[in-house]
C-alpha cells in the first residue's frame, strides 16, 4: 500500500516501482490521455489501467451526427483499438464502471466487485445529455445524493448510467446506441423534432435534413446557437437552415410530450407541446439540451464539484493531489487559497468561471498537458534515483529546458488557447456541409455600444485595452461577420456564410493575433481577390506570360513594337515561349492586341 504523503504522489528518490495510474472513462479524452502516457508505460515507469463503461474502445463522439445520418461508417469513428496500449501492458477494462473512490487508501471499486489501487487517478468521465423537464419524461434527481467515502446503498455506477429509460420515440444523441435510433429515423425519412438549437442540435438537424428526414428545430430563445452567436449571426443561420429545409421554431418553451400507443400498447412519442399551446408532431423527439458533467463519482468521494469536478490549472483536484480530471467532466478554475476544501465543499458559492466547454479540442489539450506533466514528474522521480538511465535523464533535462526532445515527446498543446480572450474561450464551429458558421469568444458588443472615451483611458492606467467591434451583414446572401478586438487583438468573432474568412479568423483568434487595421481585408478572402475565376487582367502590362523565362505582357508588347510580329520572332528576341511552350497561345493573343492598337 502506498504511503500517504502530503506533497503529492511522487517523491523524488523513492524506489522506481512503476507508478500506478488509473483512468476512469475511455471516451475520446481518456483515450487521448492513454496515447500520450503510453511511452511511460512502454518504458516500464507506469502501470496503466483504463476503466470504460461503454463496451467498445474509444470513438470520436464529434462525428456521431455524421454517423447517425449515414454520412460515414462506424469504423471512421474509432480513435483506438487499444492495441498499442495493451501491447505495452496497459489494462483496458471496457464495459466496466467505477463505483466508488476510496481516497484514504487510494483505491477504486469496480462494478465487477474488484478494487484497484492507484497512485494517480485521472477522471475522464465525460458528460451525459441533459434531459429537460418535460411532462411525460422521467428524470433522475441526482441532486439528492450525499457525498461520503462510504456511500453504502448509493450505487454511483447505477446513478451514473441508469438514466431513467427514455420513452420510445425520444432520444438524445450521445452514444452509438442513440446514433442507431437516429439513423433508423433518417433512413426511413421520418419526421424528427429536435429540441434545442445549440451547435449539436443544429448539426444533427441539418445533417438529418440533408439525409432525407423532415426536421423541425424547437428552441427557447430568439436565435439558434445563442450561447455562441450574436443576433446577426443567429438570424443569418436561421435563414440558411430554413433554406436547407429545416423548420425553425423559436421562442418555444417545451412543456410536455404527447404519446400515442402502439398496437402492442407501448407508448411512443407523438408530439411536443409548447407553453403557448403549439403542438409539434413527429416520429422522433431528439433531445439536444446540452450536456452535464458526470461528477457523481467525484461528488461521492467528497471532491469539490461545481459544473464539473473542480481542478486547478494543472488539472489537479482542489482537494486531492492524487486525483485529476480532464475533458467534459472537468471544471478548471484557480484553487481558492482560503476556501474550506474537501467534503465541506457543497457548491454554495457561485460557480467559478471555466466550466467544461463541451468541446473536444480543449479536452484533448488537457489530456496532452496532463500526460506531459505526469511524464515529466515520473521521469524526474526516476532520474533522481541511482538507477536513472542516461536517456531519461536527457529527457528530463530537455523538458526542464523547455526543449522538445526528439521522438515521441510529451506535447503540451498543438495550439495555445487565446490568452487575451480569457480562459475557456474556444472556437465553436457548426459542422454542416454548405453552411459555414464559426464563432468564438464574447461577441455581445455591437459597433456603437463601444465607449469611445475608452481610448482616453489609454495605456499605463491599468484600464483594459479598448474594445472595438467591426460588423458586416448581408442577410440577403447569407453572409455575416462580426469581429471584436481588444487593443487590436481578436477576442471574439462570429462568421456565417464566409468560409475562408471564418477559417482565417479562427487562426487569428487561436493565436491571439492582431487584426489588420483595415478589417475588410479579411472579408476579401471570400471575395473576388481570392477567387481564381476572376483573377486580374491577363493582359495587364506587368502580367507574366512566359513563366519559364519571366517575360511580361509589357516586354512582349515592346518587342512587338520593335518589329517582332510573330510568336517565333518574339521567342528569339525575348525567349518567351521557349520554355515549356505552354504560353505560345497567349503570346499570339498579345500580338493580336498589339496589332489591333494604333501605334502611339
Amino acid at each position: 500500500m502506498p504511503e500517504l504523503t502530503s506533497s503529492g504522489p511522487t517523491s523524488p528518490g523513492r524506489p522506481a516501482a512503476p507508478e500506478r495510474i488509473v483512468v476512469v472513462g475511455y471516451g475520446p479524452v481518456g483515450a487521448r490521455f492513454v496515447d500520450e502516457i503510453l511511452p511511460l508505460v512502454e518504458a516500464g515507469l507506469a502501470e496503466l489501467t483504463v476503466v470504460g463503461a461503454e463496451a467498445v474502445h474509444a470513438y470520436n463522439r464529434v462525428l456521431l451526427a455524421d454517423y447517425a445520418v449515414g454520412h460515414t461508417d462506424r469504423d471512421t469513428l474509432d480513435l483506438t483499438d487499444g492495441g498499442r496500449a495493451m501491447a505495452a501492458g496497459a489494462r483496458i477494462l471496457t464495459g466496466t464502471t467505477v463505483t466508488s473512490v476510496n481516497r484514504t487508501i487510494r483505491t477504486v471499486s469496480l462494478s465487477d466487485g474488484s478494487t484497484l489501487p492507484y497512485d494517480r487517478l485521472v477522471l475522464a468521465t465525460g458528460a451525459r445529455a441533459n434531459v429537460p423537464t418535460l411532462d411525460g419524461v422521467k428524470r433522475v434527481r441526482r441532486a439528492v445524493m450525499k457525498p461520503g467515502t462510504d456511500a453504502a446503498g448509493l450505487d454511483a455506477a447505477a446513478l451514473d448510467w441508469a438514466d431513467a429509460p427514455l420513452p420510445r420515440g425520444v432520444s438524445a444523441l450521445r452514444d452509438l446506441a442513440d446514433a442507431a435510433v437516429v439513423l433508423a429515423a433518417v433512413q426511413a425519412g421520418r419526421r424528427i423534432v429536435v429540441l434545442g438549437a445549440g451547435v449539436l442540435g443544429m448539426e444533427i438537424a441539418l445533417a438529418a435534413a440533408a439525409g432525407g428526414a423532415q426536421v423541425c428545430v424547437v428552441y427557447h430563445g430568439e436565435i439558434p446557437m445563442n450561447r455562441n452567436l450574436d443576433r446577426g449571426g443567429g438570424s443569418v443561420l436561421t435563414r440558411a437552415a430554413r433554406r436547407a429545409g429545416v423548420t425553425m421554431v423559436n421562442h418555444a418553451r417545451a412543456e410536455s410530450v404527447l404519446f400515442q400507443h402502439d398496437d402492442d400498447g407501448v407508448e411512443r412519442f407523438e408530439a411536443l407541446i409548447c407553453a403557448d399551446g403549439k403542438q409539434i408532431s413527429g416520429d422522433l423527439l431528439l433531445l439536444s439540451c446540452g450536456v452535464g458533467a458526470r461528477t457523481e463519482l467525484a461528488h461521492l468521494a467528497g471532491l469539490p464539484v461545481s459544473t464539473g469536478i473542480l481542478v486547478d490549472e494543472s488539472l489537479q483536484s482542489w482537494a486531492d493531489t492524487a486525483i485529476h480530471a480532464i475533458g467534459d467532466c472537468a471544471h478548471v478554475a484557480a484553487r481558492p487559497a482560503d476556501a474550506d476544501l474537501g467534503a465541506a465543499w457543497n457548491g454554495a458559492r457561485m460557480a467559478p468561471a471555466g466550466g467544461p466547454s463541451g468541446l473536444i479540442g480543449p479536452g484533448w489539450r488537457q489530456a496532452d498537458s496532463l500526460a506531459a506533466r505526469f511524464s515529466a514528474e515520473i521521469r524526474a522521480g526516476v532520474a533522481g534515483t541511482a538507477t536513472a538511465s542516461p536517456a531519461s535523464a536527457a529527457l528530463v533535462e530537455s523538458v526542464a529546458a523547455g526543449v522538445t526532445p526528439a521522438g515521441p515527446a510529451p506535447v503540451a498543446s498543438i495550439q495555445a488557447p487565446n490568452v487575451a480572450a480569457g480562459p475557456g474561450a474556444s472556437v465553436v464551429m457548426l459542422k454542416a456541409e454548405g453552411i459555414d458558421v464559426v464563432a468564438a469568444g464574447d461577441t455581445a458588443a455591437d459597433p456603437f455600444d463601444v465607449d469611445d472615451s475608452a481610448h482616453a483611458h489609454g495605456c499605463g492606467t491599468g484600464a483594459p485595452a479598448p474594445l472595438a467591434v467591426a460588423q458586416w451583414a448581408v442577410p440577403e446572401h447569407g453572409r455575416y461577420v462580426k469581429m471584436v478586438t481588444r487593443g487590436g487583438i481578436l477576442t471574439g468573432f462570429v462568421c456565417v456564410g464566409m468560409p475562408r474568412t471564418g477559417a482565417e479568423l479562427t487562426l487569428l483568434f487561436e493565436r491571439g493575433s492582431e487584426l489588420p487595421a483595415d478589417r475588410s481585408v479579411l472579408l476579401r478572402f471570400d471575395g473576388p481577390d481570392y477567387d481564381p475565376a476572376s483573377a486580374g487582367d491577363a493582359f495587364a502590362p506587368e502580367s507574366t506570360v512566359c513563366w519559364c523565362n519571366g517575360v511580361t505582357v509589357e516586354a512582349i508588347t515592346a518587342s512587338a513594337h520593335a518589329g517582332n510580329d510573330t510568336v517565333a520572332c518574339i521567342g528569339s528576341a525575348t525567349r518567351a515561349g521557349t520554355g515549356c511552350g505552354g504560353c505560345k497561345g497567349r503570346i499570339g493573343e498579345v500580338l493580336e492586341r498589339v496589332a489591333a492598337q494604333p501605334v502611339a
Binding site: N60, G407, P499, G502, A517, D518, T544, G581
Partner: protein, 742 residues
C-alpha cells in the same frame, strides 16, 4: 599556357556525338543537359570554334540550344538559356588559390596546393583522429563525383564524417519513400506520365519558378480543371490554377501535415478509399484509420485555415480522377516533421490506390541537378553506393569487394549535415573540412553559426568555380570544371540516368574533382584506386551498385550514349524500370507500409507587433545559393537583391511600403532588405528567397532544428519580427558582401 600532363589525358575524352580535331578540342555541337535543376532539360552546346555557329552569341564559349527530350520538349528556362555566361565569367577562379596571412588570396600551383591540402589532411587526422576531417558534398555533383567523394572520404580520409546539401533538399521525402515503399526514387514513374492525368495535387512546390519547363506536364490536368496547388503563397504555380484550371489551397505555414491527415480522414470517412487496393497492396490501414479519426474537417480548418468545403472538394476530386498524382516539394518537406509530412502525403496516395499504377502515383520533385543520383552513391552519411546502408554487413562486404579493401576499413555511419556543420571548429568536432559543390554559408540553416564554425576550422578546402561565400572563407580554393567542360552522368528527377558531355576545354588551370581525388589519394597513400576517367568511375559505380536498391549495373556510357531511356533499377540483363511498383513494392513482402503519423505541437506565434512566420524559397532567376546565377548579368539584373514578400494589410500595420526597407530579426540573426507588397501571400506570413548573400541571407534567421528521422532542417516555419527601417546607405555590391563575409 601549356596544359598539364594530367589535363592532356583528360582532353582525349570526347563525347561520342562529337568529333575531335587532332589537338583534342571538340568543335561540333554536343548533346548534354542543363547544369541546374533536376529536370535536366536537354540542350545542345555549340562551341565558339564551330563553323557555321550563329554569330549572336559569339562572345560566349558555347551557344546553347534546347533539345527535344521528354522533360523539356526542346524548351529551356531563363537560367538554362544563360548558363553559358558562367563559363568565361570574369569571376571564374582559374588557378588554385591560397589564403595569405593578410586574408587575401594568391594563386599557387596545383602541386603546391595539393601538397598543402594533403599535408593538412594528414596532420589533422594524426592529431585529432580521422573523424576530425569532414567532407560536405552537393547534389549538383555528377554521379561519378558523388560516388568518388564517398569512396575518397571513407578510404582515403578514413572518415565517417561526410554528408551533403541534399540533406536540406530531398532527405525528408527520401526517408518517407524508403519507409513506405522500401525504395526512394523521386518520381517512381516517367515525367510524361503526368500528361495524361486529370488531377495533380502539388504540395509545396513552385515548379513554375523552380523548374519552369515542367509546367508543360501539368497541361492535361489544367485542361481537366484538376490542378490543385497547396501553398501559403499564391505563387506562379498557384496561378496556373486560375480560370477554371483547378484550385489553390492556401494553408497557414507549417500546417501541411494536419491538412494531409484531414484529407485522409475525408477519403476514409466519405468512403472514397480504394479498399481492394489497400487490402492487396498495403499494410497498416487500421492504425492509419485510428490516427486520422480525430482529424475531422472542421478541426482541420481550425488548424490550417483551409475551409471545410475546400477540403471536401479536394478529397473528392482526388478520388474521382481517372488519373491522379500527388507530388510533394520542399514546401511540405523542409520541416522538422518533414518526413512525417511526406509520409502523410504518401498515405493519402495509398488510401486512394494511386501508387504503383500506370495512370496515377505519388512522387517528390527532386530539386538539385543530380539530387537523385547524388543521394544514391555514398555522399550520405549512412550510405554506400547503390543506396545501400553503411551499417549492413552484406552491403559493406560487397562494396569493399569492389573497392578492393577489407570491409573493416570502411567507417560506420557518420552524422547528417546540420549536425556535421554544428560540429565545425568545436573541440572533438570537425577540424578540417572539404566542401564540394555547396555554399553552406548561404544555404545552411542558422547560417551565421555555420560561418563562425567555418572560421574556427583548422583548415578549409573548397572546390568551386567562383569565390562563393563559402569559398571566400577557405584556406585553399581549388578551381573545378563546369558542366560544359566535363563528362559524366546525372540521374534526373524521374530516376533516368543521362549523360553530361564535354563541349569545350576548361580553362587551363582548372581541374576536375576526379583528378583532384586521384592526386590527393596518391599523396595520402590511400587504399583503393581512384580513376580520373569519368567512364571508368561510372563502370566502378555500376559494379558497386549491383544488387543494391539503386542498381545501375546494366548501364555504361555506350548504352547511355544511344539516348535509350535508362531508368534505375537497371540491373545487368534488364532494360530498366520506367515505372516502379507496378507489381510489388520494394519491401520483402511486396507491400507498401502505411505508417500512421501524428503532428507534433509547434505553437504558432501570435501575430502581433510584427511577429510573423517566415518561409524561405526560390525565384525563377536564381538557383540554390545564387553563387552561379548571381553572376549572370541577365539574371541578377532581373533579381538583384532579396525582397521580403508581405501582404499589404500586414505592411500597413507595420508602416512598411512597397520597395521600402525592412528588418527581419529573431534570436539568430538580422536580415535587411526591401519589401515587396503582394496579396499573393497570407497576412500572417512573409517570404524571403534564400539566394542572396551577406545580410540578405534568409538563413541567418532559420534554425538548425532538424527532423529526427531525415535530419532535414526547418526552413518553412521561422518566427521573425519585422519592422520598417530607414534606407541603409548604398547597397553593398555582391563582391563587397562576399569580402565582408570573409
Amino acid at each position: 599556357m601549356n596544359p598539364s600532363p594530367d589535363l592532356d589525358k583528360l582532353d582525349q575524352r570526347v563525347s561520342t556525338s562529337s568529333t575531335s580535331d587532332t589537338k583534342g578540342t571538340t568543335v561540333n555541337p554536343v548533346d548534354t543537359h542543363c547544369p541546374y535543376c533536376a529536370l535536366q532539360c536537354a540542350m545542345t552546346l555549340t562551341p565558339a570554334a564551330t563553323p557555321g555557329r550563329p554569330t549572336d552569341a559569339i562572345s560566349l564559349p558555347v551557344s546553347i540550344a534546347g533539345r527535344a527530350f521528354p522533360t523539356n520538349r526542346g524548351g529551356l528556362c531563363k537560367k538554362g538559356w544563360t548558363a553559358a555566361e558562367l563559363l568565361d565569367s570574369a569571376d571564374r577562379i582559374r588557378e588554385p588559390m591560397r589564403r595569405r596571412p593578410d586574408g587575401s588570396f594568391a594563386p599557387v600551383s596545383w602541386a603546391e596546393a595539393l601538397d598543402l591540402v594533403a599535408e593538412k589532411l594528414l596532420a589533422g587526422r594524426a592529431e585529432h583522429g580521422a573523424d576530425s576531417v569532414g567532407v560536405f558534398g552537393g547534389g549538383g555533383l555528377t554521379n561519378e563525383k558523388a560516388y568518388q567523394l564517398g569512396k575518397f572520404t571513407r578510404l582515403a580520409l578514413g572518415s565517417s564524417r561526410i554528408d551533403y546539401n541534399g540533406r536540406f533538399c530531398m532527405s525528408s521525402a527520401a526517408a518517407a519513400g524508403n519507409r513506405a515503399f522500401g525504395l526512394d526514387r523521386g518520381l517512381p514513374f516517367r515525367v510524361e506520365d503526368l500528361d495524361a492525368a486529370d488531377t495533380i495535387l502539388m504540395l509545396g512546390s513552385n515548379v513554375a519558378q523552380t523548374m519552369p519547363p515542367f509546367i508543360g506536364h501539368l497541361d492535361g490536368a489544367r485542361q481537366a480543371g484538376g490542378l490543385i496547388v497547396v501553398d501559403p503563397r499564391r505563387t506562379a504555380t498557384a496561378r496556373l490554377t486560375d480560370d477554371g484550371a483547378g484550385m489553390h489551397v492556401q494553408p497557414a505555414p507549417g500546417t501541411d501535415l494536419v491538412l494531409l491527415l484531414g484529407l485522409t480522414h475525408l477519403v476514409l470517412a466519405e468512403r472514397l478509399a480504394d479498399t481492394d487496393y489497400l487490402a492487396r497492396r498495403t499494410t497498416g490501414l487500421t492504425q492509419l484509420r485510428l490516427s486520422v479519426a480525430g482529424w475531422y474537417p472542421h478541426r482541420v480548418q481550425e488548424h490550417t485555415g483551409v475551409p471545410v468545403w475546400q477540403l471536401r472538394e479536394l478529397a473528392r476530386r482526388l478520388a474521382a480522377g481517372r488519373g491522379s498524382y500527388i507530388l510533394t516539394g520542399r514546401g511540405v518537406e523542409q520541416h522538422v516533421d518533414g518526413t512525417d509530412t511526406a509520409t502523410a502525403a504518401i498515405n493519402l496516395a495509398l488510401v486512394l490506390g494511386l501508387v504503383g499504377t500506370t495512370h496515377s502515383g505519388y512522387g517528390t520533385l527532386t530539386g538539385q541537378g543530380n539530387g537523385q543520383g547524388g543521394r544514391e552513391h555514398g555522399q550520405k552519411c549512412d550510405q554506400l553506393p547503390g543506396y545501400r546502408k553503411i551499417t549492413d554487413p552484406a552491403a559493406r562486404a560487397h562494396v569493399a569487394g569492389v573497392w578492393g579493401v577489407d570491409p573493416a576499413v570502411i567507417p560506420g555511419a557518420g552524422i547528417p549535415a546540420v549536425e556535421l556543420l554544428g560540429a565545425l571548429g568545436r573541440p572533438g568536432g570537425i577540424r578540417t573540412l572539404l566542401v564540394h559543390g555547396a555554399n553552406v554559408v548561404v544555404s545552411a540553416p542558422d547560417a551565421d553559426s555555420v560561418r563562425r564554425g567555418l572560421k574556427n576550422l583548422d583548415f578549409l578546402v573548397v572546390c568551386d568555380f567562383f569565390f562563393s561565400e563559402t569559398a571566400a572563407l577557405a584556406d585553399v580554393v581549388l578551381p573545378v570544371t563546369q558542366w560544359a567542360e566535363e563528362e559524366g552522368t546525372m540521374t534526373s528527377l524521374e530516376g533516368r540516368v543521362i549523360r553530361r558531355r564535354r563541349a569545350i576545354d576548361p580553362p587551363a588551370g582548372v581541374r576536375s574533382e576526379l583528378w583532384i581525388f586521384q592526386e590527393l589519394a596518391r599523396r595520402l597513400d590511400a587504399p583503393g584506386v581512384y580513376s580520373a576517367e569519368p567512364g571508368e568511375v561510372f563502370d566502378e559505380l555500376c559494379r558497386a551498385s549491383a544488387g543494391g536498391v539503386a542498381d545501375y549495373s546494366g548501364l555504361d556510357y555506350a548504352l547511355l550514349d544511344t539516348g535509350e531511356p535508362a531508368y534505375w533499377p537497371y540491373p545487368v540483363g534488364s532494360t530498366g524500370t520506367p515505372r516502379l511498383f507496378l507489381d510489388r513494392f520494394a519491401h520483402d513482402d511486396g507491400r507498401a507500409r502505411i505508417v500512421a503519423v501524428t503532428p507534433r505541437a509547434v505553437p504558432a506565434p501570435a501575430q502581433t507587433q510584427g511577429a510573423l512566420t517566415l518561409i524561405t524559397g526560390r525565384l525563377l532567376e536564381h538557383y540554390q545559393s545564387g553563387a552561379q546565377t548571381r553572376r549572370v548579368p541577365e539574371l541578377s539584373g532581373a533579381q538583384p537583391e532579396a525582397r521580403m514578400q508581405v501582404h499589404p494589410a500586414t505592411a500597413v500595420g507595420l508602416g512598411v511600403i512597397d520597395g521600402g526597407w525592412v528588418e527581419l530579426t529573431n534570436e539568430r540573426g538580422v536580415v535587411r532588405c526591401r519589401a515587396q507588397l503582394s496579396t499573393d501571400i497570407r497576412p500572417d506570413t512573409v517570404f524571403l528567397p534564400f539566394h542572396f548573400p551577406a545580410d540578405q541571407r534568409a538563413n541567418l534567421l532559420t534554425a538548425a532544428a532538424t527532423d529526427p528521422i531525415s535530419g532535414m532542417p526547418e526552413f518553412k516555419r521561422t518566427a521573425v519580427r519585422v519592422r520598417a527601417i530607414a534606407a541603409p546607405g548604398r547597397p553593398a555590391t555582391d563582391h563587397e558582401r562576399v569580402m565582408a563575409d570573409a
